[in-house]
Subunit: 192 residues, 2 copies
Amino acid sequence: MAEIRSPSSVRSRIVEVADRLFYERGFEATSFADIATDTGLSRGNFYYHFKSKDEILAAVISLRMARTREMLTVWESETPEPADRMLAFANILITNRAKIMAHGCPVGTLCAELAKLEHGAQDEAATIFTLFRDWLTRQFVALGRADNADALAMHVLMRSQGIASLATAFRDEAFIAREVDALAAWLSHPKL
Amino acid sequence: MAEIRSPSSVRSRIVEVADRLFYERGFEATSFADIATDTGLSRGNFYYHFKSKDEILAAVISLRMARTREMLTVWESETPEPADRMLAFANILITNRAKIMAHGCPVGTLCAELAKLEHGAQDEAATIFTLFRDWLTRQFVALGRADNADALAMHVLMRSQGIASLATAFRDEAFIAREVDALAAWLSHPKL
DNA sequence: ACGCATATAGGTCAATTGTCCTATGGCTAG
DNA sequence: CTAGCCATAGGACAATTGACCTATATGCGT
């Protein structure tokens, strides 16, 4: 009866489904029953792969970090100009506008929720932001702005978060496009 | 045995406690038991004042709208220069930095949570943003920027949200101060 | 002093939650 | 072919949730 899958495949499928549900509905609002439905597995079976829901959250954060690292690496290897790389970063907001208008930024909303829950994984979630922060800092250093590269990086990150937040509240595509343009213009002459 | 309070006082105390708890812990993570503990009332008693938890949420949103309206009115009546009024807006981030680092922006985090829950009160929560948006728009109009006053207003709102989001993730007071300064500088020569 | 609408307490309810347990299926090593 | 481990299913668990109910206490109008 039971379909046979390699354990790593099942484990990663649980994590991928949880990743999507945590993003769409939030961590607390996602139950084991929800993950069971979407994976097609039985509820009790999760505890063979994970000791607790928090352990699934840790795996989801690890997955998001790995994906973020890969995305940043690709940009760094495929886009020669640091300025263009950061434009690629800004364009996530355009590419993912539908999901962002529906569920916000995956990183920002997770950090916000975990902060309210006073959840232990709060700092680990913020580490995903740190990946972007350090990557952006490196781009500004490459642009000869080593003096305040981190502050400039935080400014870019700040604007991306603000855009995502208001995009969710107002669901306004034109606003996103306008602010991404403004961010792109700022990136061509970054100053604080 | 039972202490006697005027009904409106009890009702508003429920709303005020719920307002604080929804902010600190989130709407879903706050239970009737939590509100009961902090109000000193019995759980069952809530249903005399509110038909459901959603009705408490609606009252909380109304309370926040009323407080926002009052705050904006005070700024408009006590601060003659529109530019200075908007500086007062930006300074909320400094004044409330401790709470923002702990729980984020009350409006932004509520909108984000309700969006994920696909909650019916989502648009009502966004209306609080609209109060700020329209108020900021009026300030830019007063500054002679009627042509794109709304876009400028959304930009200010966007930056306040971005600052709050990263303030929660990184808990960095210096970042808040730096970005509020940058926002103040932008406000002296607003351009998109 | 009395009656009645208002307000409060606290119990009860089914549903859902994360967690844990056990039985059983299938695969592989020998 | 068989023994044994890996993987899965599905039920059971206590705790918690939002919601509902009823009994009782309060204070006002008369």
